[in-house]
Symmetry: D2
Subunit: 342 residues, 4 copies
C-alpha cells in the first residue's frame, strides 16, 4: 500500500513526531510506502507529492513545525478541488489512502472526503485542546509550558514594580491554555471564552490580590469577551470599528483595569511563540504514539476514523463521533481553578 | 478542623504545589486550619509542627522541593513511634487528621495508621510513575522533560563523534521514565526492569543503528538487569563484590557495548537532576488539582483514601485498592516503543 | 559603616544577585551593616528603610526581579526630594552612603546627589546594554537568550507556513538586543534604531530570503524608525495620531511587508517576558561580581564612581566619565551582522 | 580560493555556528569556495572532503555538534600523515588553505603544519575556557548555563532532604566552569584544579553552611585533586589502582564529606550533557562572529594566526602567541568567589 500524509491548519509542536512515528512503523513493521503531501489539502488538490522514506523522518521527534508544510486550503474549493478530482489524483499516483493530521476543520474535510469514497484516516491536532474525541492532543502541553514559563517571568516584573500584569494566551473558542497556564503560574484571575465576566468582577479580584501584597496576574484567552464591553466602548465614544485597532483583548483589559483599580497595569500578548519550537516530552510521546497507531490503523483499513488519546491509551474514534461540539472547559474545572483566585 | 500536612520519601517536583493547593482551598473555601509537619513521619513522631497559613504557601506552585522537608522515617519505628504515640501527639496539638504526600512506602504507612484509627488522607507522589492507582503523578512529567532535554544534548555529541551514548535514568522497579524519555528522544534501544535483554540483543540494535549512519542512543533505567550479566562477570573473573564498585548499570553496559560492537561508547548517569527544580506546567496543574481535591476530601471526611488522576479527572481511591502491585510498564507499551528501534 | 541599597528603573534579571553579592561580602568580610531602601529613590525620599542581613539575601542569585522593589521616582522632585532632605534622612537613620543600582537616569541622579555631597556608589543596570562605561551589564544576556529562544520557535512556524515572521524586541535607543538575538537566530533582516532603512530595503532582503526557500525572519528593535514612514502614512491617509494606535513598530512593518512582497507576514512583540525571570549563568556571575566589587569600593570610600565590566575585569569608573553618550551599536558591528543577511 | 574547514577534538556548542559564519560570508561577500573536511585531521590525512555551500550551512547557528564530524587524530601520525603528504592532498584537490577549529592540541598541530608551509588559520574552541589567547570561547557559556541549571535543581533536593550535594563539572586542567557555575548557583564550596584544598578545609565550609541552615552545595571540577588524598587512601588500605574504579572525584569527595561531617551527602557527575545541544545566545553570537572574521582573515591571507575575542572585539593572534600556557583561574578570581563561601 502507498499512503499519503498531510498536515493542515496552524503549526503545532509534534506534527513532525507524528509523521516520523507513522513512517518508521509503517515501513519497518508493515512494509508500507509513503508519500509526503505538500502544504495540506493544497498538495492533494495539486498532486504535490514526494517520496517519504525513513531517511526523511530521522531525528524528527524533537523538531518543531512540519516538514510537509501546511496551509488552510479547503479541498472542496477551486477548480481542481472536490472528491472526484482528488480521487483521480490519488489513483494516478497510486496512492491508496491519506493520513490527515489536523484540527476540527481539517477533520471535517477528511470526513466529507471519506463519505465521498476516499480512504482517509485522521490524526487530531489542536494546540487549543478543543477536540472532544481526545483527552489531549500534542502541542497543548508545549503551549502550556511556554505560557507558564512566560508568566513566571512576568511575575518577577510585576512583583518588582507592584504592577498588575495581563497575559494573553491562545484559545479562540476554548480556555484550556489559559486555565492550565494560569493555574500553573498562580494567576489571580483567569478569563476564558466559556465564562463571562464583567470588568468589575475582574477588578475586584485584582484589587483583592493587590491588597494581600501580591502583584496581580491576569491570564486571558484571546477569545474571551468582556461582559458589557460593547457598552463600555460606546460610553467612551468608541465604536466596533475601533476595537480591533486596539489589538487583542489584553490590550483592552489592561487600561481598563488600571483606570478602575488605580494599579499600574501592563499587558503582554504571547502570540506565535506558543505554537512553535521543540515539543515537550509529553507531546513527543503522545505524537509519536498517535503516529505509530495511525500505521496500525492503516493496515487494519480503519478508514473514516481518527486515532485519539483516552486516559493513557490510544484508541480509534469514527469521524462521525469525533466532530461537532468543541471540547470547552467545563464549569466544574473553572470553579476548581477559581478556588485559588481569592 | 486542624489538619497536618507532611511530605515523605524522595524529593519530587510538585510537592509544594500540592501543599499550596490544599492550604489555599482549605483556608479560603472551608475555613480549615493547617499545620506543617517537618520532615515526613519524623515530624509526626516528634510532634514537630508549625502553623501553615496562606502566607506560607504563596508563590509555591513553581518552586521545586518541599518547604516541609522530607525524610524516610517509618512512623512505626523508634521509641516514640507507633499509632498510639502518634494519636497522642495529634490530640495534644489538636490535629484532627493528616494529609500524607508520598509514594508506596509512605502510603503503606498511612494505611496502617488509618487502620489503627488515625485520620489519614493520601496524595500519591512518585517520580517513577510506579503507583497503580493514578494514571500519572506529579514529578514524572518533569523528570521526563529533564531526561529528554539531556538526551537531546547527548545526541549531538554522539553524532559529532559517531559514538554510542548510554544514558541512565531513574526507575528502580519500573521503566516509565526510560520508556517516555527514550521515545521522546528517538532512542535506538530502551532497557527497562520489566523487559529482560541480553547484551547481544542490545548490541544488535546498536550496530543496526550505527550501520544506518546514526549515533546509537541507549536509554537504560537504573533498575535494569542484564540477562546473563552474572555469568559475564564471572567470565571476566569479577565477583559480585566488584559490581557495585563499577557504578550504575550504564557504566556496566557502556564498556561491554564498546567491546562487542567496536563502537566508541560513553555513559552518563543523569542522577539527582531528574528530581529537582521547578515543575513542568503539567505537573504544576496536576499537583495543584490533587491539593485542591485533598481539601475537598478532608471536608468530606474521606479518610483512608487517596486522591488520584484518572483520565482528566481527579478521583478518590481507598488505600486498600491503591497499594500492592506496582504500576509496571505493560509489554504492549514496550513493544509499541520497540517498533521504533530498528 | 551602614550602607543603603536601592534598585531603580525597569526590572532586570540580576538585580537580586547584585544585592546578595554586596551584602554577603560586606557583612562577612568587612563587617558592614546594610539597609534595604524600598522602591528606588522613592524610599530614599520617604526614608523607607529596612535591615538587610545575609539572611534576607540567601538563595537570591537565581531569583529574578528585585526584593527591594523599584520605581521611576526622581530624587530631586517633590516636597521631600532634593539633596538636603535626603542628607537629613540618611543622617537621621545613620546611613553613611548609598549603593544605587540603575540605568542612565538613575546614575545621573546618583551623580547629582554625589555632586551635592551625598555618598553614592553606582552599579550599572541596563537590559538594553546602552551604558558606555561597561562592556556588558547584567540582564542583557538573559534578554538575548529569551529573545533567541522565542525566535527559534517563531522560525518553525514561519517554515511550516512559508511565512515572514517579524519579531519586535526591546531597545528604545540602541539595537543591541536585536543585533545579538537576530544574529543568534539567523535573522534575514535586523532593524535597529542606529541604522535607518526604508521599507523597500527591508522588503528586498525579505524577498531574497524567500526566493532562496527560507521563511524570512525580521528582527526589529522597538525604537527602530522606518525611513519615509511618515510619508507612507500620509499616503494612506493616516496621520501621526493613528500611529501609536497601531501598536509597536512590528505591527507597522508586518502589513507593509505583506502588502509589498505578497508574502504572508505575522508579527510578535516579545514585550515584558524579556526582562523577567531567572538570570542566565553569565548574568548571575556578572551581577554577583559587580556586587562583590561594590562592597570593596564602599570600604575604599570610592564614592562618586560606578563598578563596571571591562574585558573580564571589574573596574571602577567615575560618574563623570560613565554618563552622557549612550552605548549605541557601531556601524561596524551592524555591517558585520549584515553580511549574513543575503 | 578554495578553503577546507575542519573541527577537531571534543564536541562543543557553537562549532556549527562558526562553520555557517565562515561559509556565508566567504561565499556571498568574497566569492570563496569551501570544502568540508570530515572528522578533523583524519579527513585531511585521508583526503575526505566534500563541497560546502551556503545550502549546507542554513539554519546551523542553533544546532549543537558539528556537521563535519570530529576526531582526535594527530595529523603527523600514521603512514599518510605529515606535512608533505597533507600538502599533496590539498594540492591534488585544489585546496588553498585550511580553517582548523579546535582546542590547544588542534591549534598546536595547526601551528606545526603552518611552520611546515601549509596555510592554516585557527579558530579557538574550548568548552573549558582554557585558551589564553581569547577572553572566552564559544561553548563555555552554554556549559555554564547547563551546569547552573542542573545545580538549581540539585539545590531543591538538597534543601528538601537537608543534604550536602556534590556536583562534578567539566574542567580537567582549569576550573572556569566550576568557578562560574558555582558562583551562579550560590555554591558553598568550589574546588578547582588551580587551588589545592584538604578534605578538612572542604568539610569546615560544608559544616558552616549546614549550621547556618543551608543545604551545602559543593561544586568540583573533574580535575581537582584533594590535598592528602593519596595518604587518605592508603590509610584506608586502598591503592592507586582502586582510585579510578571509584569513579570521578565527586564520588571520592561525597562519602568522605559524609563520614567527616555526619551530613548525608550525594554526588552527581554532570558529564556529557555539558557539551551537547543548542548553544546559548552568547555562544551563537561569539561563534558566528569568529566565523565571519575567519573569512575576512582568509581573504587577508592571515595564515598562521587565530581569531580570538578580546573585550567585545574579534582580533587576530599569531599561533606563536596563542599557545603554550593554559588560561588557568587566577587566584584573585578564586578569592573573589570564596568571599561568598562563608
Amino acid at each position: 500500500m502507498k499512503i499519503g500524509i498531510l498536515t493542515s491548519g496552524g503549526d503545532c509542536p509534534g506534527l513532525n513526531a507524528v509523521i516520523r512515528g507513522v513512517v518508521l512503523k509503517g515501513t519497518t513493521t508493515y512494509g508500507l510506502e509513503f508519500v509526503g503531501i505538500r502544504d495540506g489539502w493544497r498538495g492533494v488538490v495539486d498532486a504535490d507529492f514526494f517520496p517519504l522514506t525513513r531517511h526523511e523522518v530521522k531525528g524528527l521527534s524533537k523538531v518543531g513545525g512540519t516538514i510537509l508544510g501546511t496551509s488552510r486550503t479547503n479541498p472542496y474549493e477551486g477548480p481542481r478541488g472536490g472528491a472526484e478530482n482528488i480521487a483521480k489524483n490519488l489513483e494516478r499516483h497510486g496512492i491508496d489512502g491519506i493520513i490527515a493530521i489536523g484540527g476540527e476543520g481539517t477533520l471535517a474535510a477528511a470526513k466529507r472526503l471519506y463519505d465521498d469514497g476516499i480512504n482517509v484516516l485522521g490524526v487530531p491536532k489542536t494546540i487549543d485542546n478543543d477536540l472532544r474525541a481526545t483527552d489531549y492532543s500534542f502541542g497543548f502541553d508545549t503551549a502550556v509550558n511556554i505560557a507558564t514559563d512566560a508568566m513566571d517571568r512576568l511575575r518577577t516584573t510585576g512583583d518588582s514594580h507592584q504592577r498588575c500584569m495581563v497575559a494573553e494566551v491562545m484559545g479562540r473558542h476554548v480556555g484550556w491554555i489559559a486555565l492550565h497556564s494560569g493555574m500553573a503560574s498562580g494567576a489571580h484571575v483567569i478569563c476564558i471564552p466559556e465564562v463571562p465576566m464583567t470588568i468589575d468582577e475582574i477588578c475586584t479580584l485584582v484589587t483583592s490580590a493587590y491588597d494581600r501584597g501580591r502583584a496581580p496576574l491576569v491570564v486571558v484567552s484571546e477569545g474571551f469577551t468582556l461582559t458589557g464591553m460593547e457598552e463600555a466602548y460606546s460610553d467612551k465614544g468608541l465604536d466596533a470599528f475601533n476595537r480591533p485597532r486596539l489589538g487583542g483583548i489584553s490590550e483592552v483589559l489592561a487600561p481598563e483595569i488600571e483606570r478602575i483599580t488605580g494599579i499600574e497595569t501592563r499587558s503582554t500578548v504571547l502570540g506565535h511563540i506558543q505554537r512553535g519550537g521543540s515539543p515537550s516530552g509529553f507531546d513527543r510521546v503522545l505524537a509519536t504514539r498517535l503516529g505509530l497507531h495511525a500505521s496500525d490503523a492503516i493496515v487494519d483499513l480503519a478508514w473514516g476514523q481518527m486515532v485519539a488519546m483516552r486516559g493513557t491509551d490510544i484508541v480509534r474514534v469514527p469521524f462521525a463521533e469525533a466532530l461537532g461540539e468543541l471540547n470547552t472547559v467545563p464549569l466544574s474545572r473553572y470553579e476548581e481553578a477559581a478556588a485559588l483566585f481569592g
